[in-house]
């Protein structure tokens, strides 16, 4: 399978480990990633708050770029990118007044977007297009036996459901199916569908951190050895700001947080260096030790 790879801003800079792991895992799964140096930022849920039409047009351009290259799938690795690209598709399909303005603007720069290229998150591609959890299980070389992993979905991958059309918006199971296929044990906790707090990290940090802390604590109290997320923005809240989050909820937290492709990569036998595990703020060493995996080079 060949897809247009839309890494998003974070995976290209502060969260580069997500890009590293994505490329390594895709190659193991026989998924061909086509890069487009023309892709722009998705607007991250902020641009649409100041100008929805502009945001839709920016993402219509992103989708049109893939469409022009003859690719029907734009693969995202971020719940928010996925949400914003889907928002563009939904608005174009349902709001003719916006559609006509966006179409005209795109025509002016030599693009058309017919709707044939659609965004899909990496997780969604694994479960819907690459044979699902069963096919993944057959590729596992280092089962993550004994590891209790708390999936943390990231709101925009799931909600609103009529836009995202993926899994159940409040009681999903695809990520847990994948965790089981990798040989690990999923943790059942309500926090998995809650918010990480990231959208208000700049508006009111203490509240954002309190929200992140609540979800990490929930995972911890349900026995998680690690969390894993398909969204690099959630990763910032859960990993980068974990110490502050702990302070806000009055607990010392020490919860390793994997990016979704890193977890898959570990089970496929990729080494922690390739997956960029040393780039986390909370050490993943404890979780790796439990697996008997190679230590992360410092």
């Amino acid at each position: 399978m060949k897809v247009a790879y839309y890494p998003g801003c974070v995976a290209q800079e502060s969260g580069k480990e997500l890009d590293m792991a994505t490329r390594a895992v895709a190659s193991r799964l026989g998924l061909e990633l086509v890069d487009f140096p023309t892709f722009s930022c998705c607007g991250s849920g902020f641009v649409d708050e100041s100008n929805l039409t502009l945001n839709v047009a920016i993402n219509a351009r992103n989708l049109a770029i893939a469409e022009r290259a003859g690719l029907s799938t734009v693969m995202t690795v971020c719940s928010t990118c996925q949400g914003m690209l889907k928002l563009a598709g939904q608005v174009l399909a349902t709001t003719p007044t916006i559609r006509s303005r966006v179409d005209a603007t795109l025509r002016g720069i030599g693009y058309t977007y017919s709707g044939s290229a659609t965004p899909k998150h990496f997780l969604q591609i694994i479960v819907e297009d690459l044979g699902g959890a069963e096919a993944l299980r057959s590729k596992v070389r280092r089962p993550l036996r004994g590891l209790k992993v708390a999936a943390f979905y990231g709101c925009h991958l799931l909600r609103p459901h009529d836009r995202m059309q993926f899994d159940d918006p409040e009681d999903p199971h695809t990520f847990e199916d994948v965790i089981r296929a990798l040989g690990a044990e999923p943790v059942d906790y309500r926090g998995r569908v809650m918010c990480c707090g990231f959208p208000i990290q700049f508006v009111k940090p203490a509240t954002a951190e309190r929200i992140a802390g609540a979800q990490i604590l929930d995972a911890q109290q349900h026995g998680a050895d690690a969390m894993a997320t398909p969204c690099p923005l959630c990763h910032i809240s859960l990993d980068t700001y974990q110490r502050e989050a702990g302070r806000q909820v009055g607990h010392q937290l020490n919860m390793p947080v994997f990016h979704f492709p890193q977890l898959v990569g570990l089970a496929l036998g990729l080494d922690p260096g390739t997956l960029g595990l040393a780039r986390h703020l909370v050490s993943t060493q404890g979780a790796l030790a439990k697996l008997g995996a190679v230590a992360v080079p410092a």
Binding site: N51, Q90, I109, M194
Partner: protein
Amino acid sequence: MPTIPFEVFRGSPGQTRFDTFSLDIPEHTPILTALLKIRDEIDPTLTLRYSCRQAICGSCAMRINGKSRLACLTPVGPEFRARGKLRIEPMANQPVLRDLVVDQGPFWQRYHSIRPYLVPDPQHPLPVGKESPMTPEQVAQFQETPRCIACASCYSACPAIASDGDFLGPMALAKLFRFVVDPRDGAFHERLLGVQNQSLWLCLRCNLCVESCPKDVRPAERIHDLKWMANQELGALERGSRHAIKFASNIREGGLLNEMKLARETLGLVGMLGQIPKGIELARHGKSIRKHPPIQGREELDAIYRELDRPEDLQHRPRVPGQGVKGPTQQPSKAGGAA
């Protein structure tokens, strides 16, 4: 008929427990009917709120397997099959009085704080003894919000309410939106100004309120509309609006986000000083935040901005219409509703 175990939250502040009751009931039985059967036939002390039994009065909201739902609108079958159990708890984010009954005081206080009534412009008083006609287009601006039955499901589902008392919450803000777009109301500017200072900008856009609302009011989208209008009307007045407005101009420059610049513009110089220790910590893990090289085709993006980055018409503002497709566990359909 299957035997269905109900794990029901019991107690009053200080002493709480879960009681398990088993019932042989058809799968289509509404959870409210099952709870009333428990009260009538097993434990007459079980305390809960309800009235209409048909999704009109908004009294019977509670958490069902963690989801905030109307008990009279939620059948036992799908929930029981999905989770293998039925865990029934009082709504979240409100103090429990007893069993499934909560104190809704804070919810209603927020509602009253937005002045949920028309405030006409004194310069243009409403005609006395005559109707104030509206165009169908004007009515369509607030078609969703009058459906609200004030059940507080959204308030119970909201993670921002759970973590910050300053937030007004989904229902109060959706109601505020209804008056902000009403052409008979004269307090447009004051209403928007009144919800700055974080009572609006703490919405996380998690959309849990959209999924939990039994009437498809889609509060998060109404809050999005309010933020959009506040940005148009008031500009970059505070951190939340500044962040949204500066984000848009930020990616115009290079195509990808310049995180440093955005932080500087949102937080200001003093705010940035507080970020220095985190910056050092990130750098130690190889996570330093450098500026992305510009994307190819930046001039295309620039052309899009030239065409579309201009104030949009408030009266004809773009909408994100819901398509009325419900999540797989939201049964039966939410159609219909009270005025």
